[in-house]
């Protein structure tokens, strides 16, 4: 049997506010997808190494060279809000 999902702490971790109807539907969907995924438990994988990446990739090194770029204005320009050379966001510290 798959785990019974408690969706609220997951939504909190994922930074999502779920509406009541949405919450119910998503919890049901997740439960049925996890029930499907549970078929993996048939396989004994104790001695199988995990594959997180298919290519035999090693660290890639190159010289750290500075390059001129004029991208700053363009990046700030499409921010939802900016002030001078900063991205502007609402207050972070309550009561400050």
């Amino acid at each position: 049997m798959s785990e019974k999902i408690n969706i609220d702490p997951i939504a909190e971790l994922a930074r999502l506010n779920l509406k009541p109807a949405e919450r119910e539907k998503l919890a049901k969907d997740l439960q049925s997808i996890l029930a499907y995924v549970d078929q993996l438990k048939e396989l004994n994988t104790d001695s199988v190494p995990p594959t997180s990446h298919v290519l035999p990739i090693e660290n890639v090194f190159r010289k750290d060279k500075a390059k001129k770029t004029s991208i700053r204005e363009a990046m700030l320009d499409h921010a939802p809000k900016r002030e001078s050379n900063f991205f502007k966001v609402p207050k972070i510290i309550e009561g400050a």
Binding site: L30, S32, V54, F87
Partner: protein, 474 residues
């Protein structure tokens, strides 16, 4: 023949003999999109800018190429068909866009897709669904459904898509065009908005196999901006075209021809096998014993990576922001209002399988079974050069048919997902039509970095069957 019907190859020849044909072709294509795309909705951002400065002499000189809307384009809104990226105008080009421009191509338009490539039908787009040019009541497949529909409907000469679990091949199959997912690492992903970073690949969606080879020649190669791009020499892929398939060893996995495979699809694929045999290929049975676990592994690995990749969308630096009193509420509201239902489903599932207490049971288990799936391919490819099977278990389904049943939607990628998990190249080519006159696709899979073998096999089959000559009536 109308100009918009040209293949990439023919357009290239036409422009080479008369450079003014390029502008004429783009004009004709623009008129056609304006006339037809209100019904197909292949494009989300269609703005052929006549002022693009392009290399006058290059392998794609003057040719318009359309892009899936998750490939960033300097100065053009790029949204992944998601509300959360509305208004995002990237200040740079993806490496492959730079390469296309250097080869002389025009960026012609941005194509519709499932939101963040989460879907198999193009229905999760914030712009609404794309319609299949063969029958407007049916889905074009997904997630690169807009790209495939544009090529199938002659609204594009060729297009690019991205493929994380079948998102190039399944829509190519549904729309009756050629779709190639190259080997993991063959094409740079710098500037592709990430979904599943250990799975994503960019590839061409084209009218013919030859066009696919011409485009891959431009796209493939190492890029210092993408550390996962392979530093392996790129052959001339067109050199594999027009060869015979005598002595080619083709494997048919016995696990492919099982319950759930539509009889019409099975019949078309078995007829294709006969064509290959008549052309001199030898066909043997192979086994991919862990194939049936591929969808389950994918919906752990891909969603885990997606939940992590989508953490960056928080309303601070670009795209949509919901107004709120404090920063935390801004994050929550931006994401809750900005993401659609399928994106939320996958973010939550991915967050769950990565969360403390469940990591070993789900994520680690998924990575271990991924090893078994990769080993299945390694073993099969000791016996054969190419694995052949259906691209999708069914012909296209109707718009709305699977939207309320995520699992049944996920299962439409059952034949395509394992190639991403194993990192191998795979291609879908047209192999016939259903009784309802909807396209059916055939999938060929080869060893890593042996796209050339796919081109050799596919071009021999295409030259014999010529399915690309049949066009939808629009």
């Amino acid at each position: 023949m109308e100009l918009f019907e040209l293949t990439l190859k023919r357009a290239k020849e036409s422009i080479a003999s008369n450079p003014s044909k390029g502008a004429e072709l783009r004009e004709v294509l623009t008129k056609r999109v304006k006339a037809l795309d209100s019904r197909i909705k292949a494009y989300v951002n269609f703005n052929p800018s006549p002022n693009q400065s392009v290399t006058p002499k290059g392998p794609l000189s003057g040719i318009p190429i359309s892009l899936k809307d998750n490939i960033v384009t300097n100065g053009w809104e790029t949204t992944c068909s998601s509300k959360i990226l509305k208004g995002f105008v990237p200040p740079y080009d993806a490496t492959i866009v730079r390469k296309l421009k250097e080869a002389g191509a025009y960026v012609f338009g941005k194509c519709n897709m499932d939101e963040f490539a989460f879907g198999s039908s193009c229905e999760t787009s914030c712009y609404g669904p794309t319609h299949n040019p063969w029958n407007l009541d049916y889905v074009p497949g997904g997630s690169s459904g807009g790209s495939a529909a544009a090529v199938a409907g002659d609204l594009a000469i060729a297009a690019l898509g991205s493929d994380t679990g079948g998102s190039i091949r399944q829509p190519a199959s549904f729309c009756g065009v050629v779709g190639l997912k190259p080997t993991y690492g063959r094409v740079s992903r710098y500037g592709l908005i990430a979904f599943g970073s250990s799975l994503d690949q960019i590839g061409p969606i084209t009218k013919t196999v030859e066009d696919s080879a011409i485009l891959l020649n431009v796209l493939a190669g190492h890029d210092e901006c993408d550390s996962t791009s392979a530093d392996i020499p790129v052959p001339d892929y067109t050199s594999f075209l027009g060869k015979d398939v005598k002595g080619l060893n083709i494997g048919l996995p016995k696990e492919y021809f099982v319950k759930g495979l539509d009889p019409e699809v099975e019949k078309a694929v078995r007829q294709a096998v006969k064509v290959f045999q008549d052309l001199g290929a030898s066909v043997v049975e192979v086994s991919l014993p862990h194939m049936k676990y591929a969808v389950a592994v994918y919906y752990i690995v891909a969603v885990a990576e997606a939940s992590s990749n989508l953490g960056r969308f928080d309303g601070v630096e670009y795209g949509f922001r919901a107004e709120a009193q404090n920063l935390k509420e801004m994050y929550f509201e931006t994401r809750s209002q900005g993401f659609g239902a399928e994106a939320k489903r996958r973010i939550l599932l991915g967050t769950f399988v990565l969360s403390a207490g469940y990591y070993d049971a789900y994520y680690l288990k998924g990575l271990k079974v991924r090893t078994l799936i990769k080993q299945d391919f390694d073993q099969a490819f000791q016996k054969v050069d190419v694995i052949l099977g259906p691209t999708a278990p069914t012909p296209p389904f109707k718009i709305g048919e699977k939207m309320n049943d995520p699992l049944s939607m996920y299962l439409s990628d059952i034949y395509t997902i394992s190639a991403n998990l194993a990192g191998v190249p795979a291609m879908s080519i047209p192999c016939g039509f259903s009784s309802k006159n909807l396209p059916i696709g055939l999938q060929l899979t080869a060893k890593p970095f042996e796209e050339g073998t796919l081109f050799r096999a596919a071009s021999a089959y295409e030259a014999t069957t010529k399915w690309y000559e049949k066009k939808p009536k629009l």
